[in-house]
Assembly symmetry: C2
Homo-oligomer: 421 residues x 2
């Protein structure tokens, strides 16, 4: 394939997607649900084929020497295929946001203005590894009336292809417009660049993956991008914290699932409670063998049992049983530290002092700010969205957990009886 | 100035703006209004200086041989300076969107989730000609809690500088944080590229200007861009239109102010009313010497009095007393034409048939879709927003007229009593 052929092929997909998007935008909720259910049926019917194709990806992964964790993320078995199908059925039960009236008012001249949710159009999803994203992303976009162009990673290409095919075939049986869900057959970086330049067809790109991938998309993209970046999340234990609650919540933010973006990476402790709180949380963390990297004050309290936190630690997303700890003199210092080092994902304050809590919530420029609850609740499911396409670390359009509503735009519909200016 | 010095200087402004943005985000509505009123006072006090600086721009414009229309857009006199100051005072009377609760719910585990409007942060505004934009854009951003970095065109540099200075000095007297409003002293394209790459400090760029400028920003930008592009707006006169209303509304969309983006460029007429309607609107347009470019059917009806519309006409924003006219066989053909050629700004259907109207509103993918009212109402003032930063032709974050609300993002504030996952 020459670069020109690749470009031509991707542009042809873009054109098809744009046409499909118009048809999708006027499908009723019932029609979309019927399509979704038919996709789930087809996916289950293709279980054996999917597992056979997935095996090719697993063999390639082992040849390449991918880690066990990576191989496990790729693996599909009967239960996992069933879970993907169940996920589609669940999306069918979620309320359709398209057509919702967000606002409505009448002007003195009598024109009625209505702000109505409409689909975004064509959404490009660029992702790595997990083949379930092929289905999860496509069906959320479909339910919100959008066409998708999917571009998965090379590690999962066989799995992604067969899953996309199942969605297309199952969907077609229930009236899915052709071109509504398409998978780019190329997995090289050049295909990402072609997508990023295709602003006449793509209304939005959502990159889900590592920093290098996201950076490449941001640099090349001519259309809006909603990044799902990393989470350098903070917990702050205030001078007026309930210490028992602080131990339980802070431990949960770190150890309940350290590999995810809403897990805590840096703990800040007010100096007045540091000597009481830090030994207790350190004991708790011994159970999980959490590596503690502390500033000088923390080291003194823990008697040199720990590593030294360097400047680099404050900017690192460990995604592991590692935590950096700093003792601060005040709420102001905590807020300043977080506003400087946070990736603006999720932060929590533990305190019984409402005024301190409100200052923390009000003065932090992060997507989710918590008072006395674990940052692990920064999640579409936990928010009650029913499903999520991811967690936006951007500030425009959608911020924090993104569900179906966040996959829509709006349109003004204005009704008059002959008004002119 | 070497390119490195320019970059250093702009980045230093970016850093300052980011610091100011934090302070702005927690100012009360009363504090912001006090700052705005103090700016208006200072601007009026500097009227003579502003007019003197403006004279330098006007002289340069005449030397360069700019058109009378261009020179008039640049000109500031006492009345215009007063109008700018009055505009600031008006923004002070508008409700502050920051802190508004957009949504609120409690989860089964007891955590309370609140979605609250917060400022976006630092907004870059890139614009051309009109010096009043310096004030209009800066004060709307300020009222919504954002810092601004302004980059105006070379034609208005003297005027822009003195206006920005008046805003800064007037604001400082009432507690405006330093760095909240800054004007880039460079007017070359390189400075635009530096801004476009500065995503660590700029949360959003709004380019207002010609296609070349907007294209340059879109290509280079690493942060979100909200484009204020052109308006290829359509009017469709349906088979069941009230012909008298159609003449009045269609005339208004074209001739009330043809130089603006919400003016109509292409008229589509259902064939069943073409022979009645087209001669009437053509007579109306004779008064304004509107140049009509028609398809074959239109030419036949008007007896060859008109120019021929070519493919290029359907994609042209005339911004002038020129219109393209096409006779269509059906509502479907009208919708298909608009979805193909429109810039998705504003479109209107004239009809007494409600079902046709609703299909038109529902099936068009444009920011503003009208039934029996002029497209000229696509405007922040006409919508009742009190003021507008412009009209977004993008679909993400803000679409159509943008007021104060559209200059905000949101944040989730979650309150619990020790919940963990």
């Amino acid at each position: 394939m020459t670069p020109e052929t690749v470009k031509e092929e991707i542009y042809a997909m873009g054109k098809k997607a744009k046409q499909a998007a118009h048809r999708l935008s006027i499908l009723s909720e019932a029609q979309k649900n019927e399509i979704l259910c038919s996709m789930a049926v087809e996916l289950r019917a293709k279980t054996a084929e999917i597992i056979a194709e997935n095996l090719k990806d697993l063999e390639a992964a082992e040849e390449k020497g991918l880690s066990d964790a990576m191989v496990d993320r790729l693996r599909l078995d009967e239960a996992r295929v069933d879970a993907i199908a169940a996920g589609i059925e669940k999306v069918a039960t979620l309320p359709d946001p398209v057509g919702n009236v967000l606002d409505k008012w009448t002007r003195p001249n009598g024109i009625e203005i209505e702000q109505v949710r409409v689909p975004i159009g064509v959404i490009g999803i660029i992702y790595e590894s997990r083949p379930n994203v092929t289905s999860d992303a496509a069906v959320l976009c479909l339910k919100s009336g959008n066409a998708t162009i999917l571009r998965g990673g090379s590690e999962a290409i066989h799995s992604n292809r067969i899953i996309a095919q199942a969605l297309q075939e199952g969907g077609a049986k229930a009236g899915l417009p052709e071109g509504a869900i398409q998978l780019i057959p190329f997995t090289d970086r050049a295909s990402v660049n072609v997508m990023a330049g295709m602003d006449e067809y793509l209304d939005l790109i959502i990159p889900r993956g590592g920093t290098a991938l996201i950076n490449a998309v941001v640099t090349a993209a001519r259309m809006p991008v909603i990044k799902h970046y990393n989470g350098i999340c903070h917990a702050y234990v205030d001078s007026e914290a309930d210490i028992a609650m602080a131990v339980e919540v802070v431990d949960n933010t770190k150890t309940q699932k350290p590999s995810v973006c809403n897990a805590m990476e840096t703990l800040l402790v007010h100096e007045s409670v540091a000597e009481v709180f830090i030994p207790q949380i350190a004991d708790e963390w011994l159970k999980h063998e959490v590596e503690i990297r502390g500033d000088e004050a923390t080291q003194e309290i823990l008697g040199g049992r720990i590593e030294v936190a360097t400047e680099e630690d404050w900017t690192t997303e460990y995604l592991d049983y590692v935590v950096s700890v700093k003792v601060v003199k005040s709420l102001d210092e905590a807020i300043a530290h977080i506003n400087e080092y946070s990736s603006q994902h999720s932060e929590v304050i533990i305190t019984e002092n409402k005024a301190n809590a409100e200052r923390f919530l009000n003065e932090l420029d992060s997507a989710c700010v918590f008072h006395n609850a674990s940052t692990r609740f920064s999640d579409g499911e936990e928010f009650g969205f029913g499903a999520e396409i991811g967690i936006s670390t951007d500030k425009l359009h959608a911020r924090g957990p993104m569900g179906l509503k966040e996959l829509t735009s709006y349109q003004y519909r204005i009704r008059g009886n002959g008004q002119v200016r």
